[in-house]
Subunit: 286 residues, 2 copies
Amino acid sequence: MKKIGFIGIGIMGRGMAANLVKAGFELTVYTRRKEKIEDFLRQTGVQWAESPAKCAMGQEAVITMVGYPKDVEDVYFGENGILSGAEQGAFLIDMTTTDPRLSLRIAEAGREKNLHVLDAPVSGGDTGAREGTLSIMVGGNETDFAASLPLFRAMGKTIVYEGGHGAGQHTKMANQIAIAGALAGVCEAVAYGERVGLDTAKMLESIENGAAGSFQMRANGPKMINGDDAPGFFLKHFVKDMRIALEQSADPLPILEQVLKMNEALEKEGFGDCGTQAMIHSYRKS
Amino acid sequence: MKKIGFIGIGIMGRGMAANLVKAGFELTVYTRRKEKIEDFLRQTGVQWAESPAKCAMGQEAVITMVGYPKDVEDVYFGENGILSGAEQGAFLIDMTTTDPRLSLRIAEAGREKNLHVLDAPVSGGDTGAREGTLSIMVGGNETDFAASLPLFRAMGKTIVYEGGHGAGQHTKMANQIAIAGALAGVCEAVAYGERVGLDTAKMLESIENGAAGSFQMRANGPKMINGDDAPGFFLKHFVKDMRIALEQSADPLPILEQVLKMNEALEKEGFGDCGTQAMIHSYRKS
């Protein structure tokens, strides 16, 4: 594989696409607004296509990294979508965190054209995207997974085949569910510490390497204490993911439900473009 | 300081007391039932006292590591309690995880006798107790803290002065609150994975080193998957801690409330003597 179409040059896609270029792949990219990526096009010298269909034409693989399930639907199934442009036998790899049911639909639609469809959401944030150290969770046929490894290796470090179509998305959902609990635990520990008058920085320092420790505590705890709401991962995207996970779970997930409820309220109040650590504001208003 | 009274030779206390003996301190111990620690007395050669008061007499410091706030109350304020036996100027160090208000009461009661009272709960579990690697969170006067460091160093590794009386307990409460969230997140991620048919062991492996990673995931996730309910930390003790934290928090902590509710139900169903990973059973019954 050498010729790749890449759709979605946002915070994550930009780093991932740049790493593919660096690894020697020939990229053609599509974004909704070309003007937003003029600098990227200049720096990398990659081609820009006028539609998802045109971005898919003549490519051996097409990678998508867009925002919401609705965007995934548009770029694949829309009038000038990938499925109308993709070559026979091409690889279609959706790396957006999206609805596992959508992964199944794309796989189904691709079958007629003998397309190799994979769902391959990532974790690791913009830093991981930039540094090529993402975790990539892949669902689909195992032979398609094996054939796509050179692509994944250019973008990520921990690359795991999780099972059939949708299993990548389901693994990512499990990831987000675990984050929801851990993040909420950090918020409540910090809120408690503030309420009872502890030195919260000292408190975090003394508990973060023990049984209470987590990535969320180390990454977001200090931001909560310092009032830094800058986004690493957007609160509004976290809300999207939690909604999908809840829809997919046959039985209740009460903690996730509560965390979603609180973050939906925050999004309505204008915190959607903050980082997920802004969840602490739920506890400071009362 | 050399002569130490130690009250409470349970899962935790046994390792802590053994480490004090190893460090050269002269111990006298008290437990409610002597027969349960005959082997410990034989192995270490330490004295046994017939009451908390007698265990405190003639000692430079008395350490308590019992189960519930009620037990702390009994051993300090009871008829043959520590406060009736302690020498003028002795150090009283409660290392039980207990109610911060109780720490204040002991400090208050100790003032008349010029006793140096510290609250110093720990985290790190039975392994940390055995290996002398506990985290110790200390509240009280800073000079008393400094004077007690040789004792703490024999039992722990991360030893932090958190502030005035009760600040050690409050820090431990924050620790338990963060654990509640992280643990619940792991339960829900595993439950979700099981419901959607993922290979949950593979799933955990691919997410545990990323943003979803936590001590709880690494320690308890595999136990949940393997059906291992053996106690590292008792579910019933976790319930106790969460109750105290909720009582202490002026405003709601909705995630903690939910986790407590689920674990109270499990305790009623007979899971109290299991480890906290048994919380996963809340998700498997429905």
